[in-house]
Subunit: 419 residues, 2 copies
């Protein structure tokens, strides 16, 4: 037995321990007391019978649930508008976004599709046009990949004047999941794609019948997947249940959800989504079309807009990602861009995936501006808003990836500013 011979008493309430005061404080006022009424709702009737200050070590706990739920004391949510829902980036931990909080963008609501009846048609420049059931797709060789997805309209506020809002409202149309499905190349091979096929129409079975032209580049053929899984289970309805296209690194909408049809062709299909939306208007009035890759971006999520700081130690945290590859460096400035320090990157650093960065910081209570900038393994470094606008103007709605500036005011309030 060890010093103080605690033995089994260590697991009971009698042992005074070596620090009786602290321990009594703990047991009397701390972890072992349950005193708010919200908690009594946690596990139904059994909990309802408890008084307001029951010691949870004195009564048996509730039974586990077959399909778990989060604690009702946790209330983080997506913010939904009529067309999209944002991920609460300020609340995320690690790199995986919970499926329940994955951002979504829809163009006419979330359809209710039945996987038993869903079909995927592959046709066009294919010698063996094929219709796949979900069951057939699931019998084919499969693959999984952890990758981010981002709406091309994410961060669009950056093109205009800064408004005082949250990181969720500004940048919350990006999330990371582990996706599972079949390689697109496997399906195209099964359909005997003809050699002249260089583009593919991908069409969804939702009420918008969203359809996009996908260039069949080597990168797409190597990486694209038709997915039925997300974070270990079936896709969520908002993410395309039961089937979606996954094009790692390319803008969100071309990762067509509720996927029902792939048509092979030799030129882009010029759907209305490729003119009325999803083009980048430049200062000279012309527009870039098929600007699909999401360039490198980073944003500090803790602390971030509308949070309030108190002086003292904290950890600056944020996320960085690039549609072109892996993040190699994230630098953080705590003095409005005068100096930059390398942040620590959380392993594993995966290509085309959210990468969490961290830097210890002691806020001295003085007004300042904090920023982050990332570099990816192509050598591309995220630029300032000013540099970005010099080239791109301010008429676009898409692909904003300038450096985010958070002003920390004397009272500790964090504000979005143009810097």
């Amino acid at each position: 037995m060890s010093e103080g011979s605690p033995g089994e008493n260590e697991a009971s309430h009698q042992a005074p321990g070596s620090l009786p005061l602290n321990r009594r404080q703990l047991l009397a006022g701390g972890a072992s007391l349950l005193a708010i009424s919200a908690s009594s709702r946690l596990f139904g009737a059994q909990a309802e019978e408890r008084s307001e200050a029951i010691d949870p070590t004195r009564v048996p706990g509730a039974s586990p649930r077959p399909y778990g739920e989060r604690s009702p004391l946790e209330t983080q949510t997506r913010v939904t508008t009529s067309t999209s829902s944002t991920t609460p980036l300020q609340d995320l931990q690690g790199i995986i976004t919970p499926s329940a909080l994955h951002f979504e963008r829809h163009h006419n609501g979330v359809p209710a599709l039945d996987p038993a009846r869903h079909r995927l048609l592959i046709h066009g420049l294919a010698e063996r046009p094929t219709i796949f059931t979900l069951e057939e797709l699931m019998r084919l060789p499969s693959t999984s990949r952890i990758t981010f997805m981002e709406c091309s309209g994410n961060s669009r506020d950056g093109w205009g004047e800064a408004r005082d809002t949250t990181v969720q409202a500004l940048h919350g149309l990006t999330s990371t999941s582990e996706w599972t499905g079949v390689k697109l190349a496997t399906l195209l091979e099964a359909a005997h794609m003809q050699p002249e096929a260089t583009w593919m129409l991908a069409e969804g079975g939702d009420a918008a019948v969203l359809a996009r032209s996908v260039p069949l580049t080597t990168e797409v053929l190597n990486e694209a997947m038709v997915c039925y899984g997300q974070n270990g289970e079936a896709l969520r309805p908002e993410q395309g249940y039961p089937l979606r296209l996954l094009l790692p690194g390319l803008e969100g909408n071309i990762n067509v959800k509720w996927l029902r049809r792939l048509k092979l062709g030799s030129a882009p299909f010029m759907t209305r989504w490729e003119t009325s939306k999803y083009t980048d208007l430049m200062p000279d009035g012309k527009a870039y079309q098929f600007s699909l890759v999401m360039d490198a971006k980073s944003v500090i999520t803790k602390p971030s807009g509308q949070q309030q700081l108190h002086p003292g130690f904290r950890e600056i945290q944020g996320l960085a990602w690039s549609g072109r590859g892996s993040i190699t460096t994230v630098e953080v400035s705590i003095d409005a861009g005068k100096t930059w320090r390398a942040a620590r990157l959380q392993e594993p650093v995966l290509p085309k995936c959210h990468t969490r960065f961290r830097l210890p910081w002691r806020w001295d209570g003085r007004e300042t501006v904090i920023q982050s900038r990332c570099t990816d393994d192509t050598g591309y470094r995220q630029s300032t808003r000013e540099s970005l606008i010099t080239v791109r103007g301010t008429q676009s709605s898409y692909h904003y990836n300038g450096i985010q500036s958070w002003k920390v005011e004397r009272n500790g309030m964090v504000k979005n500013i143009d810097a």
Copy 2:
């Protein structure tokens, strides 16, 4: 415009396309029709008004939810008993286990703890005994890690005679999550751990007040974490909300959930959990104590117990993991161990983490036995049941990691057997 000038019509219902028959079949009978009543429950009142065969491209979809849910057509669950709940390994995809399906083991129910009142006391051989609030812990430097956790009693059926059941019932007490928290070493440093401290008591705030002695090895000091996050959000109640210990690679129960106290000492604390349970009884009647590491194990999850196969192509899939490091190889036999072939490992292969393996297979309809065996980066290779029992006997309840044998019968039924 491309061949056939599909243009905007590609996104409507009028274009005949190049394969009218197939396409009409698709639109008439396939993805675009919704015909089972279960689906009408998907999104509440709006959906209820739909008839049984509404084309989802013709009516707006439902609104997304602030905190998403899975489709009600997905029904995979944990199987819960009075003391534990198993993960449906046969249904998982990739390596992340959804938090809602993470296995759990409890010793007196799931307590309802309030993070605002929860405290962690660190005392014993510490010069500065300290009580941490959750808020204080969350301000400290943090880290995340994707790692498996496994109950030491997982696969315990292996010690006895094989019964016909599922992979979930046999091996479902293992799961993988991305965990987030503070390094244990950071907290011990803050409490000024004394140099003679070599063991630590970790105590939970549940009704069992589960308490375990943790050896403060270099590996533990390097890797252990006190966690508040799981898969991007707060721990689930069944996994220790709001705080748990994480000891990557060590048996599940020592990763103490609902963690409220760490006491530093110079010897094991000999709690009742370390004699009445969680020791390995050997053939000579003596027992191993503190046999904490989970050795390498693999299991084929598709196909697995009580599933029925039809002849033809499929992909054999499974999971492998090791508490000592990374999986380097998984070999699969489709002929009862006579020959073995290397399976493909899903990237990223992470240390102390579920690793998914895959091998294409065409079942010819004949009776056979399929097996997997893994090797980790220490050189350890999973052994047969026979070899394991030769050394360990059959009296233990814990740490079974022999090769799993699935017999495929002529009618396609898959059965658990001793081979």
